[in-house]
Every structure is written in C-alpha cells, then in structure tokens.
Symmetry: C2
Subunit: 212 residues, 2 copies
C-alpha cells in the first residue's frame, strides 16, 4: 500500500466501499470494473479509480478489481485486520443501546467492560456484563489494554470522562455524548451526534415540502 497523505473524505468513503464489497462476496462476485462498481455504489467511476489509487493500483486495465483482494486491502488500510478492545462509559439508555449495538454488529471490536457513576447501577448486569464503578476505569484501561473508550454519559461529564480515558492511555474515543469534546493529538476521536442528524432530516423534510 502506498499510503502517503490521504484525505479524510477518502477515509470516510472506504467503509462504504467495504460494505459493498462484502455484499458482492456474499453474491459470489469475484471481480468488478470501476464502471460496474460505480453503478452499484453511486460514485462516478473516475472517483472510484481516484480513491482506490491512493492505496496503490489494485485495478488492472481491462480486468477490474478483485473483490476479495480489494476487500482485504481496505481491511488492512482501515486496520480491521486486528481486534480492538472497547469499554463503554455510561450504562443509561444510551450506553445500553450502544453496548447492544456494539455487541451485535462489530466484528473486530470487543466490548470488554461497562462503567457507570450511578451507584444504583454498579454491580447490576448489562448484556451479560457486570457494570463496574467509574472509579476503577484508569486501572482497567491500563491492565486490560483497552484501545477504545465509548462515551455514553450525558453531556455535562463527557469532557471529564474523555480526560480520564486519555490519562489512562486510551488510543481512540468514540463519542456519543451530545457535546463536542477535545482530546490531545495522539488520541483519535470520532463523534456520533445522532440528534444533529435527526435535526438535519427535519430540515430536509420541511425544505422538500416548501418546494412542492
């Protein structure tokens, strides 16, 4: 893989390519041209060639892309050829939801523990795991070599939780709190603002109706 400087836009498109490649694998498709891929995924063929050229020339002129080969290469680029160990912080509705989701869908990502400040919840079970006290999180992250902290607390304490995770040596934070948080440059951060997305949907619904 070439891997010089790849834009965030390209990185954000790779998981989508990957999803389509998995669908093609399921259907037994072995190779695909950029034109066919374009019709499937909705990007232009030239966009697809440009995106995938960032990582070296998988595609052969007149042959197209090997579905298995491209999928493996994207896995390697994204780092999905290893396992990541996660902790969930916050065992309220949101934490429960995300724990369920993470346990059900994400091959390569293992939920190793759930932490909570609310004493009433500590010691109870969530998805088969005993909820632990937030007090012990730094020790747990260090000892269990946790890679990713998933922040599911409410906004008020999200930054404090992020600071603690960074102090404990976490490598990445996946933030579901409804506030933006800051992390030092050696920690990766992705935020899911579900309500922002829902609010954008409301806008588009109204916008479509105004135009009709």
């Amino acid at each position: 893989m070439k891997n010089s400087k790849i834009s965030n836009a390209v990185i954000n498109r790779l998981p989508r390519y990957r999803r389509y490649l998995i669908e093609l694998q399921k259907k037994g498709v072995e190779k695909i041209s950029s034109k066919e891929f374009s019709e499937l995924i909705g990007y232009t063929a030239s966009q697809i060639r440009q995106d995938l050229n960032n990582f070296g020339g998988f595609g052969q002129q007149g042959y197209g892309y090997s579905v298995d080969g491209l999928k493996s290469e994207i896995d390697a680029i994204l780092g999905l050829d290893k396992e990541y160990r996660m902790v969930i912080i916050g065992a309220g509705n949101l934490g429960h939801a995300i724990t369920k989701y993470a346990k059900s869908i994400t091959a390569g990502f293992k939920v190793c523990g759930v932490f909570e400040k609310n004493e009433k919840l500590i010691g109870t079970k969530l998805e088969g795991m005993e909820i632990m006290s937030y007090e012990g999180i730094v020790e747990f992250v260090e000892k269990e070599k946790i890679d990713i902290g998933v922040i599911c607390v409410n906004g008020d304490s999200a930054q404090e939780v992020a600071d603690k995770l960074c102090f404990a040596g976490i490598k990445g934070i996946w933030n579901f709190a409804r506030v933006d948080i800051e992390v030092p440059p050696h920690v990766a951060l992705e935020s899911m603002q579900l309500s922002d997305n829902l609010h954008a949907l409301a806008y588009h619904m109204n916008d479509i109706r105004k135009k009709r």
Copy 2:
C-alpha cells in the same frame, strides 16, 4: 428568514450551533459576539458570520447575537418548532437501542409505534409499547399521520421497508440499516452508518501510531 439556496454543509452545522446556544442559555448568557462564539465552537468568526447570514442578519454590529433569538431562529429554520411523529421498523437489538435513544433524547420527535416481522416479537412490549406486525405498517402510517420512519432492520430488507414507507406517504426516513437505500425525491433521507464511523476511528488510531 431569507432562505434562498442553502448548502448541505451549512444545514449540517446548524444543529451544532443550536447545541452550543442551548448550553449558553443554561449558563444564562444573553448575547455573544461571533468572536466569542468562534472560540467556543471552533469555527472561525468569519465562517460563523457567513453561515448565519444565510438566514438573514441576526447579528448587530458591535452587539453580537442574541442567544435566545438565534436559537429560536435556528429552531424555525430546522423545523424544530413542530412535532414529528415517528415509527421504528425492526425491534431487534438495533431497533430497541434506537427506540430507547429516541424516547430519551429527542424533544419534538415522538415514537408512535414499533413494527416487526418476526412473529415471536409481535405483541411483546418494547419500552412500554406493544410491538406491532409489519403487515399493518402502511395503514398505521396513513391513519396516524406518521412523518418519519426509522429503519432498524438488517440490510437485506431495508430497501423493501423503505419502499413500503414511501408508498404509505412517509415524509422522511432515518436509516440505521447497514446498507444504503434509495428514496424518491419527495422523501427526505438521512443515514447513520455507525460501523462506518467506527471503522474511520480504527483508521485514525492506526494512522496516529504510524506517525509517532
């Protein structure tokens, strides 16, 4: 409000402005300059002025923005001054998670029903609501004047569910299935690909480590 042609990028930033305005309201702040807002939210002051000018000049030279005024105006732009009626389709892990989430956080968005194909789940309760048969969804959407369908089924049937919702006259679709779906132009669509976001996080974690 002016409201000519506003880019998607601006629309996607408005919910974020709104979250910061709500924080300011909680702290009792009544007005804010674009410079102060810039330090808070992390966009440049000129970006902020440009974004908000899309909707008419709220800001007064030398005074800044009225926090309440700007929040109300953004609510009106996004269409958050009304209530939206939602149905959730799919009562598995993901549907349960999203129902919990939607019920706990989204003022202005009301979950009116949960639908499922799996006969074992139909008639059981989810978050206090009786899970209904997917067979009855068109009638329910029409009769209950449902605005938004939230797709939480697995990928294989997501497009079929979307087609049915569109047939029933839905105005917007919020898609959590792990596939991309297509809708006619009069229906608004937003997709949340949680796993895409997690995969981008994995990439950035590895990228940071390579550079160190």
